[in-house]
C-alpha cells in the first residue's frame, strides 16, 4: 500500500505515531522518547517536523494573498453587502412564495392583487428599515449608501482645457465638465475605482455622474480606462456617436476617429450597445470596430503601449498625493517616474508619496535624473534648464551637483521633500539594509512601500546581487499582489536576461509562465512551459505544468 519507502523502519514508526496523534490521545513516555531520539538522528524526519510545525495557523491568511488594511476593510464591506443582498433576495422569494397559498383562498385577479400588495408592502418595509434593527429571521436592510462620486485630474501633461479654461492641478470633474486635450493629455480619477487617460487631440464630456451611473462621452480622440473589477458603485459607461461601451471591471481603450469607433480590451471584458447590432461582449485581447462583425487580436504594439500606460496610472493617485509640478526649458521633455513615462513638460501630477526616481529626457537621450522623497499631501516644483545640455547619443546622467545648479526648485508646502543622490550615502547604507527594509515592508503587507524599497535598492546598487534578486521579488509582488502581470513579466524577463541561470532562474521562469497565463498569452505561455520543462526537469511545478501543457495543446 505504501508507495513511499522509508529509509529506516523507525521513520515509519514515528510517522504512524504522528498520524495516530490525530485521534486525540496523548503521547506515551515510550513514544515521546522514541520520537525525540529519532529526530536527533534522522534529518528527513526532523526537516518534516520543523517544516510542518511552521504551517500551524498563526492568525494570518496563510497561503492567501496578504491584504493591506484598506483592502481588507473593503473586502469585509463587500462581504456584508453581499450577505445583505442575499438576505433581501431570500426575503423577496419568501414574499413570492406566499402566492400558492393565497391562491387556495382567493381566485384569479384577487390573488394576484393580494400578492402584489404584499410585495409592495415588503418593498416599502425593506426600503424604510434602518440598519441594525431587528428584522426577524430574515434580515432585510438597505444597501450601503453610495456617496456621490467625485472626480479630479491627477495628471496634466502639456496644455489641457477643462470647461473652456486652462486646467489646473487636481481640477474638479463633475457632471457636465468638458475636457479638450489638444497637444496635451490628462488623467482623471472619477472615484469609485475608475481612472481615465484622455490622450492627445481628444475631447470628452461627463454626461452623467451620480450614484447610479457615470457616463463619459467621447466626442473625439482616444481614452484609455482602468476600472477596478472589485469596485462597487455606479455603473460606468463610455458613450460615442456609434454606440455605448459598458464597463464592469477592465482595462480598455476607446478610439473615436469620426469614421469609426474602435474598442480594445486589455483585461476583463466590456459590453457594447449600438443601434446597428445587438449588444455584444468584447473580451480580453480583442478589439472591435463598433457596428462591424469582425474582431481582431490586439497587436504586440498595442499591448506594450497599454502596459506602459498602466505603469503610469499606477503611480498616480487622488488621495494623500504629492503634487509634482515639472517644467523644463525648453518645454516638451519626456518625464519618467520610476521608469514609467508619465508625460512631457510642463506637467502636473498627483503622485503616490514615497521614493521616486524622476528622469527627464529630450530626443531619447537621458538628460536629467533626480531622486525624490515625496511626502503625503505635499507639493513639489522643479524647473530644469535643459537648453544646450543634450549631446546626441550622450546617455550619461548628469551629476547631482550639475542637476541642482540647473534646477530651480521651490517647495511650496511642508513637509520638505529631500533630494538625494545614490552615491551620497552609499557608504552608510548597504544593499542588505535596503533588502531587509523591503522584506520588512513585505512581511507587514505594505506592498507599495516594499516596491519602493526594492526600487531604491536597484537604483542605489544596480550591480549588486541583491538588486538582481530583487527583480524576481518585484515580479512576484506585481503578479500576486498588484494584479499587474505585464509589469511582472518585465521584471521576470529582466532577471532572466541579466542573470540567466541564477539560483532564482526557476522562480523567474515560473513567474514568467504565470504572468503570461494571466495575460491570456497562450502561445507564449505554451512555449515558456516547454522551455521550463526542458530546463528544470525535476522542479515541483512540472506535473501541473504538464497538465496545463495538455490543456494548451
Amino acid at each position: 500500500m505504501n508507495k513511499m519507502n522509508y529509509s529506516n523502519p523507525e521513520c515509519k514508526q514515528v510517522h504512524d505515531i504522528w498520524i495516530e496523534l490525530g485521534t486525540g490521545r496523548p503521547l506515551t513516555r515510550r513514544e515521546e522518547t522514541l520520537i525525540e531520539s529519532h529526530l536527533e538522528d534522522c534529518e528527513a524526519c526532523r526537516l518534516e517536523a520543523e517544516a510542518l510545525d511552521m504551517i500551524r495557523f498563526d492568525g494570518s491568511a496563510g497561503p492567501a494573498p496578504d491584504l493591506d488594511d484598506i483592502t481588507r476593510r473593503r473586502r469585509i464591506d463587500s462581504i456584508l453587502a453581499d450577505a445583505d443582498s442575499h438576505a433581501q433576495k431570500k426575503a423577496a422569494r419568501s414574499v413570492v412564495s406566499v402566492n400558492p397559498f393565497r391562491k387556495r383562498i382567493y381566485t384569479g385577479m384577487a390573488a394576484a392583487m393580494a400578492a402584489a400588495a404584499v410585495a409592495l408592502i415588503a418593498f416599502a418595509w425593506i426600503s424604510l428599515e434602518s440598519p441594525g434593527q431587528n428584522t426577524g429571521a430574515v434580515t432585510a436592510q438597505k444597501q450601503p449608501d453610495v456617496s456621490l462620486p467625485a472626480g479630479r485630474t491627477v495628471l496634466l501633461s502639456g496644455p489641457v482645457r477643462i470647461s473652456g479654461g486652462t486646467a489646473e492641478a487636481e481640477n474638479a470633474i463633475t457632471e457636465g465638465t468638458n475636457i479638450a486635450t489638444g497637444k496635451g493629455k490628462t488623467v482623471i480619477d472619477l472615484g469609485t475605482g475608475i481612472t481615465l487617460l484622455v490622450m492627445e487631440q481628444s475631447r470628452i464630456s461627463i454626461g452623467s455622474m451620480d450614484s447610479e451611473n457615470i457616463d463619459v462621452r467621447l466626442h473625439k480622440g482616444r481614452i484609455f480606462g482602468q476600472v477596478d473589477p472589485a469596485r462597487r458603485g455606479p455603473e460606468f459607461s463610455v458613450s460615442t456617436s456609434r454606440g455605448k461601451v459598458r464597463v464592469v471591471g477592465t482595462v480598455f481603450s476607446v478610439f473615436n476617429d469620426d469614421d469609426k469607433v474602435r474598442v480594445s480590451v486589455f483585461r476583463g471584458k466590456v459590453s457594447i450597445d449600438s443601434d446597428s447590432r445587438k449588444p455584444e461582449k468584447v473580451g480580453i485581447g480583442q478589439c472591435v470596430v463598433i457596428g462591424r462583425r469582425e474582431r481582431e487580436a490586439l497587436s504586440e504594439e498595442e499591448k506594450s503601449k497599454a502596459s506602459s500606460i498602466l505603469d503610469t496610472l499606477e503611480i498616480l493617485t487622488a488621495s494623500n498625493s504629492s503634487v509634482l509640478t515639472i517644467e523644463s526649458m525648453p518645454s516638451g521633455a519626456d518625464v519618467k517616474l520610476d521608469g514609467a513615462l508619465i508625460g512631457s513638460t510642463p506637467l502636473m501630477a498627483s503622485v503616490r508619496p514615497g521614493h521616486r526616481m524622476l528622469e527627464l529626457y529630450r530626443d531619447d537621450a537621458r538628460s536629467v535624473r533626480e531622486y525624490l522623497e515625496l511626502a503625503p499631501d505635499s507639493t513639489l516644483s522643479r524647473t530644469f534648464d535643459m537648453s544646450g545640455m543634450i549631446q546626441p547619443g550622450n546617455s550619461a546622467p548628469q551629476s547631482a551637483a550639475a542637476q541642482s545648479a540647473a534646477a530651480q526648485s521651490a517647495v511650496e508646502k511642508s513637509p520638505s521633500p529631500e533630494r538625494k543622490h545614490p552615491a551620497a550615502d552609499k557608504e552608510s547604507i548597504r544593499p542588505v539594509d535596503l533588502l531587509a527594509k523591503a522584506q520588512t515592508m513585505r512581511a507587514t503587507r505594505k506592498w507599495a512601500e516594499a516596491v519602493e524599497a526594492y526600487h531604491e535598492l536597484i537604483w542605489r546598487f544596480p550591480d549588486s546581487a541583491e538588486a538582481r534578486s530583487t527583480l524576481v521579488s518585484l515580479g512576484t509582488i506585481q503578479l500576486e499582489q498588484m494584479e499587474a502581470p505585464l509589469r511582472a513579466l518585465e521584471y521576470f524577463d529582466e532577471y532572466l536576461s541579466k542573470v540567466g541561470s541564477g539560483s532564482l532562474a526557476q522562480e523567474a521562469a515560473f513567474g514568467r509562465i504565470m504572468s503570461l497565463r494571466k495575460l491570456g498569452e497562450t502561445g507564449r505561455e505554451l512555449e515558456s512551459i516547454q522551455n521550463f520543462i526542458r530546463d528544470f526537469p525535476s522542479a515541483i511545478q512540472i506535473p501541473r505544468l504538464k497538465e496545463r501543457l495538455k490543456e494548451l495543446q
Binding site: I35, M54, H86, G132, E547
Partner: protein, 205 residues
Amino acid sequence: MIALMQIKGESGSKIAGHESDYELTQAAAAGNRKARRQIVDRLFNRVRATATYIAAGHADAEDYAQMSFIEILQSAGSFRGDSSLESWAERITVRTVMRQVKKQRWRGQYVILDPVPEGRQESMAEGAVANRLVSKRIAEFLNVLKPEKRVAVTLQLVYGYSIAEIAEMTDTSVYTVRYQLSTGRKKLRRLISKDPYLKDMLEDE
C-alpha cells in the same frame, strides 16, 4: 516541534468563550450589523486561509471565501455554542469550498513562492518572513494532493483538528480520514525531503 504533536482540543483555547460566541451569532442572525461585522472580521483570515488551502490556490479561492462568509452569516442563527465559533465556521467553509471544488475539473493552480535571493537566505530566514516562506512552500506541496487528502491534512496540520473532528467536519469515517492522512502526509514528506529551498531555509534558521 512538540506543537506538531499536540492537537488543538487539548490546548483549551478553542473551548473558551462559547457563551459569548452564541450571543454574538444570535445578534448577527437578528440583523445586528455590528455583530455581523465582528464575526466577519474575526474569521476573516481563517476563512480565507482555509478556502485557499482547500481550493489549492485556485483563482476563485477568494470567491469561495466570500461564499463561505455568506453561508456563515446566513447560518448564524443555527450556531448552538457547543463548539467554538471558529470550528463551526471552519466546517461551513470546508463544505462550501469542497462543493465548489467538486464542481470543476481540477486544473492545478499555483502559488508563486517568495524567492530567496542568492546568498541571502540567512538574512531572510527570520521570524515571520521565514514562516511565511515555509508556509507558502508547504501550501504548494499541499496543492499536489487530491482535494480530500488536502482537506484532511490541512485540518490536522494547520488547524490541529483530531481525526474524529475531521471525520465529522467532512462527513466521512475516521478510517477514511486516517487513510487520507497517512497517504497524504507520506506524499508531503516526500516532497519536503526533496526540496532544496525548504532545506536551505530551515537549516539557515
